[in-house]
């Protein structure tokens, strides 16, 4: 009963939180960092995914296997590796990226690109092979045929992007390790939750967690609505 009350109290405080500038800033930063990470991974992952899904080549299963294996990358391990790379003693230390939002962004992009590739490959492979053949029969070039297939797999690509965004905004390991959870610079929703739990501010943490869930659900719902309006 006590815990039910705590959660209800948390939800009531979520509503109050919308008026708090720090919360709004943190929320916006979370969306910005993870949204940009998703964009970066889309720029790399969608063309690569279409290419792998579209063509037959030796070692295709091996390549797909690698990306599937990377789906389960533990964020804490990736965070540690990236910290060592971005650290001033590391080999990318000269970029001065450690403890900046950019570092978190790149880290999250690396985390989610395998997801993007795997899901796009799957979406492209699920398109009826006749579409490609038909496009070719009609005189389409290889690139034009790819675009035709991509058009047919929009739903799958959208799902891939949303899954990636949700994974990025919900991860903690990378944001802590290369962001440092710095107030006003790299503090995002997940790192706020981790810190406030440590500080004993349980109610505030529940409220922030609810806010995070709200974003994830809202984005997923929006995409579902857009997709339902198929012509």
């Amino acid at each position: 009963m006590q815990s039910v009350w705590e959660i209800l109290e948390g939800i009531r405080r979520v509503i109050e939180l919308f008026g708090n500038p720090v919360v709004l800033e943190t929320t916006f930063r979370s969306i910005y960092v993870s949204g940009t990470a998703t964009l970066l991974s889309a720029l790399l992952g969608i063309p690569l995914g279409v290419l792998i899904g579209f063509r037959d080549f030796t070692g295709k299963h091996f390549v797909k296997g690698i990306f599937n294996a990377l789906l389960g990358m533990p964020t804490v391990a990736l965070g540690l590796i990236l910290y060592i790379v971005f650290s001033h003693s590391g080999f990318l230390g000269f970029l001065d990226l450690l403890y900046t939002p950019m570092a978190v962004m790149f880290g999250q992009a690396i985390l989610i690109t395998p997801i993007m590739i795997s899901l796009v490959v799957h979406a492209v492979e699920s398109v009826d092979p006749d579409v490609r053949d038909l496009a070719r029969t009609l005189g389409a070039s290889e690139t034009e045929a790819s675009i035709a297939v991509l058009r047919e797999s929009t739903a799958g690509v959208a799902l891939a992007s949303i899954s990636c965004f949700n994974r990025a905004i919900a991860e903690l390991g990378v944001a802590i390790a290369v962001g440092g959870n710095i107030r006003g610079l790299t503090r995002v929703l997940t790192t706020t939750i981790a810190l406030e739990v440590m500080r004993g501010e349980i109610e505030y943490s529940i409220a922030m967690a609810a806010l995070l869930l709200l974003i994830v659900f809202a984005v997923t719902l929006a995409i579902n609505l857009i997709q339902r309006r198929r012509p």
Partner: protein
Amino acid sequence: MERKVWIWTTALALVVITSVAGTAYYISTSRREKLVISTTTSLYDTLLLDVIEDQFEAEYPIDVYFISVGTGLAITHAQRGDADMILVHDPSKERAFLEDGHGVCRKIIAYNFFAIVGPEADPAEINGLLPPQALLEIVEAGRLGQAKWVSRGDDSGTHTKEKGLWNDAGLNWTELREEEWYIEAGAGMGTTLQITEQFSAYTLADMGTYLKYYKDNIIALKELVTQGEELLNVYSGIAVNKSMHAETNLDGAISFIEFLVSERGQQIIEDYGKNTYGQSLFYPAVGLLEENAELVTVQWIKNYAFFNGYECPPQYQNGHPELYS
């Protein structure tokens, strides 16, 4: 189909605009002078450093970035050149940090006392004992299955202190940790206190974090052992040596240390927590040490946290003797 393309284009444009605008904003703000401070969790999690940061930034054109990680990791950050200064509470590690050439301009900024806290029932009957006796009682009760001990187990300053206390009591920590009643949390102070509460166990706590958790009714553990030189806890600030890590901001670190040891900075430390907790969480150390009072606390600080009679031996003062006059 037209409509769908339009919706997708709008969505994509929104994402791109957000990304570009956000990036431009961060690039524009990153031109200000930056000071990265890796800190022990007790100073940060009690919110003291947020107060100090606001006042410091109002006075200096410097953006302070705190990374709250615990003494062990804070020192590692600094050794790798990833922090401009550290705020820590582990004199033995601080000494090694100075001697390895990574740190300069160490100043003792504050002190308080650790406490051994435990359940009100106090099964090991340690209330009011001195630390070594209390620990011996806990070991005895633990081996009889009547008590448990929770250790931070995270290489923090508090963890080092705990190991030292077992040593003072004539016990071997590496053997104790294998015993069943000895629990290693591997977590920060707050989490460790919550685990201790859950197991009705004993632990070593820094007063700042303990008081916050106790007053907020998150834990009901009582302060049982609070007396004794062994429980002294001394916080220092150390700047990272620029001749070893060229990219660090030494001048900013010196400014921050100057602010901490100034009358204003020390006053913030003294006042912090009085309203909320009815007592200071940390006591200012600078005035106390400068007056060189024959107080027993000053002697304790010197025994525990001075190196060869100096808070910072001259060879590590790095041309800033004014900090020590």
